[in-house]
Subunit: 428 residues, 2 copies
């Protein structure tokens, strides 16, 4: 194959090497070959001397952000109905709103807004809940494909404890609809793929879970769900699954909790037992930490310091509309802020998260769920966001680390001047 489609971007490049370390290369180069980064360099290596260079001057170049948990059909009502806890919130606000997605006209309006706003932000990869409705889920996938970002999208399964108009009529019907949906979307898109999405244990009968386990194996699908978010929810699961040792174990007994052949991400994990944490670690399950949602629904604060100490796979989720903001920068600053309250009010041994750790969680930490994403190291798929921080930098000429910190705490989509996904410029 002839060497082709190689280019470099020049600017102030920041990316996570690991949980503790942000590599910051001022006036550096990141070289991209097709979809893939070839690494970051202080000077452009000789062998790429002829590659075209886009010079972003004093701007910041960072990896695209990764949202491990967001509900597309809840985007329209984000920022309202924050006066209830999880189970009442679902019944009062969320399920009635999700029922609207049986209407494709409404879905068209609401999913357009969702996809447009997502494309303006810094997110380049997202793991997305849709609703039970197959046509609306296909519409969402088409819109996300056009947005240019990489996404895993799930038609939701729920065959119990849900209101009429949303609950699927049987486990068999839910499974069959899922299979039909998979046949129509697998391999259809470049950047948009399906992910198996049992809503959570209370919404899915044992029969449905067994059928979904078979589908997961047959299609080798990744899987997303919710775990140990709220104390009443956990109690309910223990009643529904008296044969399980924990909420996580209930998923595991259906073959849906990581392990060798299941790439699984579980949102929240605010109140995990030590056995659950060990199972998460052993099975390589990803935790989507959703700090804003956990505040809004009064769920609590997830023990993220413990997760990091035990080397769990952890990333961030906006969890719209439990979370009000779809910004992963906001999720980073929220994760630091709630970790400080956890340290002050709950456990003086759990040191607060640092800027380095929060940035890691929102890039490489979550990016690994997609394979090699979330970093600029050689071999990673090249997702990047170019940030003009002129409006927030201030007169004191802060160093690159402090500029990145300001971007995390203060930037909005006006500061984003370009976005690259898998080597291609987005919406350009």
């Amino acid at each position: 194959m002839i060497m082709q489609n190689i280019y470099a971007l020049k600017g102030n490049i920041c990316y996570s090497k690991d949980q503790k370390t942000i590599e910051a290369v001022e006036n550096g180069y990141v070289v991209v070959e097709n979809e893939t980064s070839r690494g970051v360099f202080r000077t452009l290596p000789e062998k790429w001397a002829n590659a075209p260079v886009t010079d972003y001057g004093d701007k910041l170049i960072i990896p695209g952000l990764v949202d491990l948990h967001i509900h597309a059909p809840q985007y329209a009502f984000r920022g309202t109905g924050m006066d209830l806890e999880l189970l009442d919130w679902l019944n009062t606000y969320t399920f009635p709103e999700e029922a609207r997605y049986g209407d494709l006209e409404y879905a068209e309006l609401a999913y357009s807004l969702f996809a447009d706003d997502l494309s303006k932000g810094a997110t380049t990869r997202a793991v997305v809940f849709a609703t039970v409705h197959v046509p609306a889920t296909m519409l969402l996938m088409e819109k996300l494909e056009r947005s240019g970002i990489v996404s895993l999208v799930g038609k939701v399964n729920m065959d119990r404890s849900s209101p009429a108009g949303l609950q699927e009529e049987s486990a068999e019907r839910s499974a069959n609809d899922t299979i039909g949906w998979l046949h129509s979307c697998v391999g259809k898109f470049k950047n948009t793929s399906p992910i198996l999405t049992p809503r959570f244990i209370p919404s899915c009968s044992d029969d449905l879970m067994r059928r979904l386990g078979d589908i997961q194996k047959a299609f080798k699908l990744p899987l997303q769900s919710h775990l140990s978010e709220n104390q009443s929810e956990i109690e309910w699961v223990s009643e529904l699954c008296p044969w399980s040792m924990s909420y996580g174990d209930a998923y595991a007994q259906f073959g849906m909790f990581g392990g060798e052949n299941v790439n699984a991400v579980m949102a929240h994990c605010v109140w995990p037992t030590s056995g659950e944490i060990e199972l998460i670690r052993k099975n390589g399950v990803y935790v989507a930490h959703c700090p804003q949602s956990n505040m809004n629904l009064a769920s609590g604060i997830a023990p993220v310091r413990k997760f990091l100490e035990k080397n769990l796979n952890v990333g961030l989720g906006s969890d719209v509309a439990g979370g009000s903001s779809a910004s992963v920068f906001r999720a980073m600053s929220d994760s630091i802020q709630v970790s400080k309250l956890y340290w002050r009010l709950v456990d003086g041994d759990s040191a607060p998260l640092t800027v380095e750790e929060a940035f890691y969680l929102g890039t490489l930490g979550g990016g690994r769920f997609f394979g090699k994403a979330g970093s600029f190291d050689d071999g990673f798929e090249f997702d990047a966001v170019i940030i003009d921080d002129g409006s927030i930098i201030g007169p004191a000429k802060p160093n690159i680390h402090d500029r990145l910190s300001k971007v995390i705490y203060l930037s909005d989509d006006r500061n984003i001047i370009a976005k690259y996904v898998r080597g291609e410029i987005c919406g350009g």
Copy 2:
């Protein structure tokens, strides 16, 4: 006097009647006479039938927001240096930054940014810390006057426990500089006035506090300071003032803690004793609740539910740069979010704040510190913000209450299309 300068604004009008109640009048009128609101009406009363009406259509019209606590010289470095608690944060980041304001060239750059950004936001009234430097404080007052908002600005006093380059050389010098500053600024501006500003007990010797008490009486000044933010700070104050019953009592013994002739606002009150709370109530001291700062500096969560139950005067503060964001909308949503964590993690009897309460705190609650401000009821000074929420409203046509909730959680300065202060349009 001939009836003059009367006009009405038409739109969806929302304002707090009290802590629990938001009055929402769709397609209503608020009538303004000179600087003052004449009230809100469903139809325009006959006697004002000839008043010119500005029709804002479907837009929201709300009272201007009130920031009871913000440090202007910390604006430039907001969003950085969030890895320390209060006392170390002051010594490591804040005091060195504030020392720069001896240089008027730096102050010109930094205060321009501060005043410009403040004028773009929804804040119409602010209680502002400057630094010890008189010339830079005058510069700040001039810039705030030009911004159109109403502000109380304090030259800071600090004659102990502070670094060279920032600490004033003696109590006498600090007091004399303050008197000189007051002579040059009292009555100089329409919207900008001085407020007495002993930084906090650890920065002010007993001698200085006594002199400032005399200055307060002579000039009948309002007063701002900090109270019970951090546990190490409180311990330090108890060592410095062994004769006091509490941190608040130390201020009180210098005649600086409310009461008949002192309009005082104290920031934070995260760890008040029951005696302090009673003193705050008895003396009518205002509490500036600064939830984001209290997260960022790991101070904790102020017991705001208790303050409201005891009918304390409470408003919101952004506390930049302890807080990263200068938005009072953000302070409202932060106040709700941290109250939910307080309820979940600290005290199950302290019900979370509602949207109504948070909106009250950021408008009428803080506005009362300025006299009749923060509401549209007859006789209040007319400060208003006109909000186009088209970008966040979503396709489901939410009611006015939910639209206001979305504005609180999601809006930014792009949603603000006009601002009125004391009856005049700002920056128009």
